[in-house]
Structure formats: C-alpha cells, structure tokens
C-alpha cells in the first residue's frame, strides 16, 4: 500500500463528494439542488476513477481517463435534459420544489 498513498487524498475527497451529493439528493426537495447533487456525486466518482488510474507506477492509465471524459460529456447532456424537464415542471408545480408527502391521486 505504501507506494500508492499519494492517491488517497483524491480517493478521500472523491468519496466525500459522492456521499455529500447523495445526502443532498435524498434530503433536499428542490429539483435544482437534486440535479446539482447528482452532478457532485458524479464528480466524486470521476475523481476516484482518475486517481485509481494514477495509482500504479509510471504514467497514468489512459483508458480510465478516456472513460472519464466520456462520462463528463454524458453527465453534461443528462444534466441539460434534467434542467429542461425541471423548467417544464415549474409552471405545473408552481415552483421547482417537490411537494412534501406522497402524491395524492
């Protein structure tokens, strides 16, 4: 383990970002915060994957780097669709927050 300790600050921060995002995703009713929380979780995942790529000796592994840039582009696209959906919900809900309690119908 000793040779790979340089990756641990990034592993730790990535895990922290992931759980902070998860906590906000579960507890905050506002949809914009949920979308942002999902992005924070994704950033944490990318951070862990990139630091894992740099764990071995020598140059960082290029395949996880390529996977992460693919992931970033997909995350940006998904965020855009989520925000567009949120904008359409805004007039229906009278705001961008989910109403408390289960849906009544």
């Amino acid at each position: 383990m000793a040779e790979s300790l340089h990756a641990w600050p990034f592993f730790g921060s990535g895990v922290l970002l992931f759980v902070l995002g998860l906590h906000a995703l579960v507890t905050r009713p506002h949809l914009l915060i949920k979308v942002l929380a999902f992005n924070v979780m994704g950033s944490g995942t990318f951070m862990v994957l990139l630091s894992a790529a740099a764990r071995g000796s020598g140059e960082p592994d290029p395949v996880p780097q390529a996977l992460v840039i693919t992931g970033i582009v997909v995350a940006v696209s998904a965020t855009a669709v989520a925000l567009a959906l949120m904008l359409r919900l805004y007039p229906i809900l009278g705001g961008a927050g989910l109403p408390p309690g289960p849906p009544e119908d």
């Binding site: 998860l22 592994d61 780097q65 390529a66 970033i72 582009v73």
Partner: protein, 223 residues
C-alpha cells in the same frame, strides 16, 4: 417522517457508505491497468497521445455512442417544447458585446487549436467543442432577442454531423478491410482529425442548443 430525523438518518447512512467505500478502495489491489497494452498498440495508430488514441481509435465505439447520447439529449430537449427567450433580463451596456467581438474569434482560435492539439497532447474534440460552446453561450446571452440561429434543417444537420461523419468512416472500414470502426493503415491520422473536427462542431452546437433548453423555432416554421 419529519425533515430533521430524515436528515439525521440520511447523514448517518451516508457516513456509513463513505466508510464502506473507503475500506473497499483500501482493499483494491494496485495494478498497472492496461497502460502497457495501450503503449504497445500506439504503433498501429496515427496519433501520438494515448488518451486520444483510446478515444478515437481503440475504443472509438464508445466515443460514437457518447456523441449519440449528446444528440439524444438535444432531441429530448427539443421534444419538450419551444425554448424561452434567454435571459429574462439581458445584459445592458456595451461592455459585454464589445468584449465578445474580440473574445469570440479568440475562442474559435483556441477551440480549433485544442482539436488539432489532441493528436499529440492534451486536447481533443470535447475540449475544443466545450470552448466553442462557451463562446456560443456568451453570444446567446449577449444578443438574446435576435433569432440569428440557422434554419431548423441547418441545426439538424449541424447536430447530427459528428455522429454521421464518425459512422460513415466507421462503416467505410467494413468494405475497405480494417473492419467496423477501424481505420485503413496510414489513413489513421487524417481520419481521426476529420472525425474530431466534425465531432467538435456538433458538440459545440449541441451544447449551445441544450443551453437554450428547447426548440429554437416556432411550431409553424417546421412541424
């Protein structure tokens, strides 16, 4: 459940998950990954940068599907309805517009350089496209009420260009020998640069259209 106990419960479970993830990462053995395989295959591709080689050559299929995801996101946004005028309160004064007249050409130059630089170093279609898209978003913010976007057909051709060029070159590999998504030997660099340029243009346009958040034309203009 009340917000406070829910928040405490979620916080506790999140902390537990963090501990589990850290212990899982701690137990993951260190290994070299596939760096050696990529380094060994670099002689078969025309680009010098391993990340670009992985994206556009060794795992080109991934990149094609990624561009299809961007295209799907644009189509999904368009299907939700027409975009609003952005922003609700446009920026006043001449500073932003005057500044953009100088910044946008510079951004186009930087984006173009990043696309070209991807062949040998850090850069590539996505980085270049993102820089171009940023200048496009600034342009939309500075002149929000001027519908200067191309006609619907032009926009559709623009957003599909990257996927279309990539797929055409990929399918052309079938009769020519190297197989689906393969490049004929010696043609690799030129074809990768062509794909990257088309992809960057499509990505830049797609990101600006995603920023608009809806169809930028009226229903009457195009059914």
């Amino acid at each position: 459940m009340n917000p406070r106990p829910l928040s405490l419960l979620s916080g506790g479970l999140s902390a537990l998950l963090a501990l589990l993830l850290v212990s899982a990462l701690w137990d993951t053995p260190v290994h070299e990954g596939v760096s050696a395989s990529v380094a060994g295959a670099m002689g078969h591709t025309g680009v010098a940068h391993p990340v670009t080689a992985v994206l556009l050559d060794f795992r080109a299929y991934d990149t094609l599907l990624e561009m299809a995801v961007v295209l799907l996101a644009v189509l999904a946004t368009w299907s939700l309805g027409r975009c609003d005028t952005l922003p609700a309160r446009p920026v006043q004064g001449p500073v932003m517009r005057g500044g953009l007249r100088h910044l946008i050409p510079l951004a186009v130059l930087t984006g173009g350089y990043l696309i070209w630089a991807g062949g040998a170093g850090s850069g590539g279609a996505f980085q270049g496209g993102a820089v171009l898209a940023a200048s496009g978003v600034m342009w939309v913010l500075a002149w929000p009420r001027r519908p200067d976007l191309p006609a619907p057909l032009g926009l559709r051709v623009g957003v599909t260009l990257g996927v279309a060029v990539f797929l055409a070159i990929g399918v052309a590999g079938l009769p020519l020998g190297p197989g689906f998504m393969g490049y004929p030997p010696g043609w690799s660099y030129g074809l990768i640069l062509t794909v990257e340029t088309a992809a960057a243009c499509s990505i830049a346009l797609s990101l600006v259209l995603l920023f608009l958040g809806g169809r930028p034309w009226r229903d009457a203009e195009d059914g």
